[in-house]
């Protein structure tokens, strides 16, 4: 059994951690939080120059060709750094959609630009509150043009292109839209995590280019499954950083004449946080194996990774605030960076309720569990 990343990717993870420790300390997400700057463009350029945006893109399309496992290790480090860059939108979603469902011509045209960071891509799906169920999508494409509104699109105000989910009927369910085209109106929206900008997109008869492989609602689920795995690593990275922060504070903060980390009320809480992070990490590894091998188990593995990471992220980041006491609730402490981001990432791609139902339905369809 070799249930670990290969050595060269462990090295890549270490390099990424050193780079981000240096270039993306908490001051960087804070700058985005405190100013109108929508994202850290300098950091994004540096990340793209190192080839991270094209890590999974094959070399023939201008990428580095390291595969999806490389995206997982980079995602974990970006999560740990709460990096204010459009990595998830552009890499896990837009790039992945084109790799999975694009035509050869589309791949040749778009992937090199996405790999170099020359353009930023995103994914637009939500039309109303509720489950991210493709069959509930209202908008459709008529005569190659798309009209409708997409809510809370991550990086919607800075992206150059969007992969837009529509009710495609018998045709493509995913379409590429040039967000600079006439008919696109974008309005930045205030969100729970201003370190990652979001926009409402109003589209009026905008030209939409189908991704020919995306026939059927199930293809949207497949894209969400592929995205859920690196997203889980990003969530685990953030949860680990929040756990580290709480642990460090529990060692240095004194009350009643002793470090608060010597009280079992704090100690056991931190042990519970550690347990949640490790279980989520192990489940994310399983997801990594599934995207790496293209395994038939992907829908199960992605759901498990997603649910564990979302629940760990919530638990650990809220208990990090609790461990810090009143100071944890202040703007000045960094606790809220992790808290906001954890909840943001657990909503992107849909909340845990819908992933839980999907997981059980997948398990029932497979009947594996019953046989096991």
């Amino acid at each position: 059994m070799n249930f670990d990343f290969p050595d060269e990717l462990i090295q890549l993870r270490d390099q990424a951690r050193r780079f981000l420790t240096d270039r993306c300390p908490p001051a960087v997400p804070r700058r985005i939080l405190d100013t109108p700057e929508p994202y850290a463009a300098d950091l994004w350029r540096a990340v793209a120059e190192m080839g991270w945006a094209g890590a999974a893109i094959p070399e023939e399309y201008g990428g580095v060709g390291l595969g999806r496992l490389a995206v997982c290790v980079l995602a974990e480090e970006l999560g740990r750094a709460v990096a204010p860059v459009p990595f998830s939108s552009s890499v896990y979603l837009a790039t992945e959609a084109i790799m999975l469902f694009g035509s050869e011509k589309q791949k040749q045209h778009w992937l090199p630009k996405l790999a170099s960071g020359e353009i930023i891509g995103t994914f637009a799906m939500a039309e109303q509150p509720g489950a991210a169920d493709p069959s509930k999508l209202l908008h459709s494409v008529a005569s190659g043009r798309l009209t409708g509104t997409k809510l809370a699109v991550p990086d919607g105000d800075i992206a150059d292109i969007a992969v837009v989910a529509v009710n495609g009927g018998r045709n493509a369910w995913l379409h590429l839209v040039d967000l600079k085209a006439p008919g696109v109106s974008r309005e930045t929206v205030t969100t729970i995590d201003p370190t990652r900008s979001h926009a409402r997109l109003d589209l009026t008869a905008v030209p939409a280019e189908p991704l020919p492989g995306s026939t059927g609602a199930a293809t949207i689920r497949t894209l969400l499954d592929y995205a859920a795995v690196p997203m889980a690593f990003e969530q685990v990275g953030g949860a680990q950083a929040a756990l580290d922060m709480a642990t460090a504070y529990a060692k240095e903060r004194y009350a009643f004449g002793r470090p608060i980390g010597s009280f079992q009320g704090i100690k056991h809480k931190l042990a519970d946080m550690y347990i949640q992070v490790e279980l989520a990490r192990s489940n994310a590894y399983y997801g990594a194996w599934a995207v790496h091998t293209g395994a038939a188990e992907l829908p199960v593995a992605a759901s498990v990774a997603r649910i564990a990471a979302s629940e760990a992220g919530w638990f650990v980041t809220k208990e990090n605030i609790q461990t810090h006491g009143g100071m944890g609730f202040t703007w000045q402490m960094d606790c809220h960076l992790y808290y906001r981001r954890a909840r943001l990432l657990s909503l992107a791609l849909g909340g845990t309720c819908e992933w839980k139902h999907r997981l059980v339905n997948e398990l029932r369809t497979r009947n594996e569990l019953i046989a096991a």
Binding site: F3, D4, S262, Y274, T293, K356
Partner: protein, 410 residues
């Protein structure tokens, strides 16, 4: 990244399977491994000993030990053998105190004569062992134990009481920690012994458990004599010697046997709730998903540890979470299962849904959160050794043992 055995591992697994197929009965599909299910059946001990002898002769006992202890294989081979054995109905666990707790301690701290005398008979199950550590006044705080060991010539005289001693009633030998010096701080006054359980002055009383059966005992000592040649390690070093035993105990902790998420799925597919089958109920689905995620997290955490072993490394700290997660998951799952069974739930027996495993687990599961380190102690260990948090301040630190206040019943 893969789940495959290396060619060497696959070869070893095939060898293990061939041995098990020839010598044990494979568990029927869908059957659940209960906690010590079958141990009370007539003739169980004889069958267990017979299997153990064959297992020893085939070279599957102490696989991962050094050659001079009788091993010579690798830690990953030990894991592979246990993965395979878990699919069969065998009662190896009866001998695990002797093999995996007593012998490594004796090999690490004992004399060559002790090793020569005790290791092989334990591996062959010719001699069965129990552990005589916990006391009414010394459980999680084991070093607070009060059983006295007083030197008289070449012998030690033991007086006092032990508790929670699994299998003491059928054991030939016990590993015993006793207080040889009450005038020094508590960790410094202990000494470790091998006790022949047939020595005069030992009284064993079974403890009736919540489940009604009696797998462990109280053991009383009245002027019990142990020759000094049966002392393990130096006088006063008993705490360090016992730590070797405890490390092996925690290291060897397996998953909690009993109903898991697969059994809960089977139940949910069989039971009707107010709006149809339980499995179609959205609230039930969410709970099933949560349990599945926890169960998988545990499985893949173990896989990460096995990967480290497979590469010849020591498993990382993540392995320390397994026992506490497994035992709590078991209680959460069995409780949810009982709720689904509903008004019919109280009845016990094989004819109940999924073979009555939910009701049975209710009555043994509390043990799994206590034995081998309580949840609270395990979380202290995670907090202190993994996260590096400071220890609790200790009120008894540096005090001679006899001056430490106790709340033990007189």
């Amino acid at each position: 990244m893969d789940f495959e055995d290396t060619p060497e591992e696959a070869e070893f697994r095939a060898k293990a399977r061939a041995f098990l197929d020839a010598n044990a009965e494979r568990r029927k599909p869908g059957a659940v491994e209960g906690y010590r299910r079958g141990q009370d059946a007539p003739g169980a001990m004889e069958r267990a000993k017979d299997f153990q002898r064959r297992k020893y002769e085939a070279g599957f006992v102490g696989i991962h030990w050094p050659v001079e202890w009788g091993g010579g294989g690798t830690p990953i081979q030990h894991v592979i053998y246990n993965q395979e054995e878990a699919k069969y109905d065998v009662l190896s666990s009866i001998f695990s105190i002797g093999i995996y707790l007593a012998q490594p301690t004796i090999c690490t701290w004992g004399t060559p004569e002790q090793r020569e005398r005790f290791v092989r008979p334990a591996m062959r199950a010719d001699e069965v062992w129990c552990q005589l550590f916990s006391e009414p006044g010394g459980g999680s705080d084991l070093a607070a134990l009060r059983t006295r060991a007083e030197k008289q010539g070449d012998e030690w005289i033991i007086n006092g009481q032990k508790i929670w001693n699994s299998g003491a009633h059928y054991s030939d030998f016990g590993i015993l920690v006793a207080r040889s010096n009450p005038d020094v701080p508590k960790h410094e006054g202990l000494t470790f012994f091998i006790l022949d359980m047939k020595t005069p002055g030992i009284e064993i009383r079974p403890i009736r458990q919540i489940s009604g059966s009696s797998h462990f005992n109280e053991v009383f000592f009245t002027n019990v004599r142990i020759p000094d040649s049966r002392r393990v390690g130096p006088v006063g070093a008993g705490w360090k010697v016992a730590l070797t035993t405890l490390m092996n105990e925690r290291h060897g902790m397996r998953d909690a046997p009993g109903p898991d998420v697969a059994e809960l799925f089977r139940l949910a597919q069989a039971v009707e709730l107010e709006n149809g089958l339980a499995i179609d109920d959205s609230a039930v689905q969410e709970k099933l998903a949560e349990f599945y995620v926890r169960s998988q997290g545990l499985k893949y955490t173990k896989f990460r540890g096995i990967t480290a072993l497979s590469k010849g490394q020591t498993p990382g700290p993540e392995s320390s979470i397994i026992k506490v997660v497994a035992a709590n998951k078991l209680q959460d799952i069995l409780s949810y299962g009982l709720d689904m069974i509903g008004m019919a739930g109280p009845a016990m027996g094989e004819e109940m849904p999924v073979g009555g495993i939910f009701e049975e687990a209710l009555l043994y599961s509390p043990a799994l959160r206590l034995a081998g380190g309580t949840d609270e102690i395990m979380k202290n260990i995670i907090a202190e050794r993994v996260l590096g948090l400071p220890q609790d301040p200790r009120a008894d630190k540096g005090l001679p043992f006899r001056d430490i206040p106790t709340g033990a019943r007189k």
